[in-house]
Symmetry: C2
Subunit: 304 residues, 2 copies
């Protein structure tokens, strides 16, 4: 039932129309693991520098996250700084200091290798493959990627996702990866690349599941105000995979397709909570009861 | 149970990436009434010129539409010509000849005036009020408008919609009418203008219901190819109001909110079928069974 998560653990600086924060805990692995931790035990693989604060480490372990695979390297933790524009759908990167992340060589502790669930956060595709190769026989492997790898490491990326059950990307990445303008045609082409399940995230416009035998679409949860979207896509992935791991989902079985729908809705719920505060702050107080309440609200406003 | 519909009856010319048609039956009243006719008896009010073809008249009467209120004036029928861009979400008007529509003075036949349901298609707000005033006491009054009236006849429009139960507009119009950027804030402001129910259409991104006590959002039906979106918004309104009229919906009663959700889904279904052929062509063969089948598919891909 444990979910192994690999990805960046970082410090972020953000500027939004609602204010700015110079330095806060961030990184795909952080957001994914915090979101997933509400559904299933999580074990992370990542690297941080000597500046990684004990209180940040405790935020993770306090949510029951296994940090045995979180390496402490000599140097500074990955730092990213970005600015959101007025509509909050677009951002630009102001600064990227890879620091210890530049030479990240993920190694899975022995007790991770037998786990059934693996989520490969957005890192170089070659590293994602290397992590996948260290797992014995996960039931479900999925991951994310980004425009950079589609652009500069396309062949490696195609080899990598060919081994995955689920690919989770956003609409821009789907168009870029497939070369198609319509989402449905993009999905068709991407499904032919290997993953049997494709999840396309569309930010404020929700998310959809594409499979050759299934289609599902969920709107975004309507937030009164979008505060800081940093990490929302990763929290979506964390909620999605966390839920599936928590129920012992097996894609090789004759599973109920509605479980995938529910996973997308839990993913959307986690993404929506993430946006309510700067960085990971919402996860300091969020409870499973609040998550279930929003899941039920989702049902209220989509069922007919 | 009959739905009275007022609006333009026109000939349209369209240019799309899929081809072009020089002249075909169109107009808001035409699309609305054809779509609504699958759910409830419809009586239309409109004006056409001496060039209005008998076969076009028969398409309407063949669907059981009462055309007693369709005036034949001396002159030519309203003509509109537009061109769709590659993404099919935007269009530009190439030509507008108001013709007999310029002096349209809607008069309701006596047997229309007792009906319970009234849908005011997009025409000058003053004319919409004039039609409303001719009805004795409709249970449900709703309508559409457009950017032009929000721009040049704002005060008249505000007086007009203050009398409506339901306003159906698209997202651009909602932003323009409210002066707000977010859809939720737009909705809040518009609900304060009078209508207790606001439906915001978002084309390929679906549609949502906003009420002070209810929220619902439906995605757009995923079409393999969007052929000609002309009239899709009107067909949405026709399906929405047609369904409500068909079930005898009474907004003054303690009604089931889910009936509004179902109406939106039937509206979306009608809009989606409309896009599958040029102009009104899809309605020459469409059956209620096909409508119900798509409604059920909608349920499949939105429920969890």
């Amino acid at each position: 039932m444990s979910l192994v998560v690999v990805g960046s653990v970082a410090y972020d600086g953000v500027v939004t129309p609602h204010g700015s924060v110079e330095r806060m805990l961030g990184g795909a692995c952080t957001y994914i693991s915090l979101a997933a931790s509400y559904f299933t035990p999580v074990r992370i693989v990542g690297v941080v520098g000597h500046d990684f604060a004990e209180e940040d480490h405790q935020l993770l372990t306090g949510r029951g996250i296994d940090t045995a695979g979180l390496e402490r390297a000599d140097g500074l933790t990955f730092f990213w700084q970005g600015e959101y524009f007025e509509n909050m759908n677009q951002r630009r990167t102001l600064r990227t200091d890879l620091n210890v992340f530049e030479t990240f060589d993920p190694k899975l502790p022995a007790h991770y290798q037998d786990e059934d669930y693996l989520l490969l956060g957005n890192i170089q595709p070659a590293l994602q493959r290397q992590v996948r190769a260290q797992m014995k026989s996960p039931k479900l492997t999925g991951g994310d990627t980004m425009n950079l790898w589609i652009d500069i490491a396309r062949e490696e990326l195609l080899k990598t996702i060919a081994e995955w059950d689920v690919l989770v990307i956003n609409d821009e990445e789907a168009h870029m990866l497939s070369g198609e303008k319509s989402l449905r045609k993009s999905a068709e082409k991407i499904l032919a690349m290997g993953p049997k399940t494709l999840i396309i995230k569309r930010g404020g416009d929700g998310a959809a599941i594409y499979r050759s035998d299934h289609y599902f679409v969920a709107p975004a949860f309507p937030l009164d105000s979008l505060f800081d979207p940093t990490g929302a896509g990763d929290c979506f992935a964390g909620g999605f995979f966390g839920y599936l791991a928590g129920i012992g989902f097996n894609p090789a079985s004759d599973f109920d397709k509605k479980e995938l729908n529910r996973a997308v809705v839990f993913g959307s719920v986690m993404g929506s909570y993430c946006c309510e505060r700067f960085g990971v702050d919402r996860f300091r107080t969020l409870t499973r009861e609040e998550i279930d309440a929003r899941y039920n609200q989702f049902k209220e406003f989509t069922h007919f």
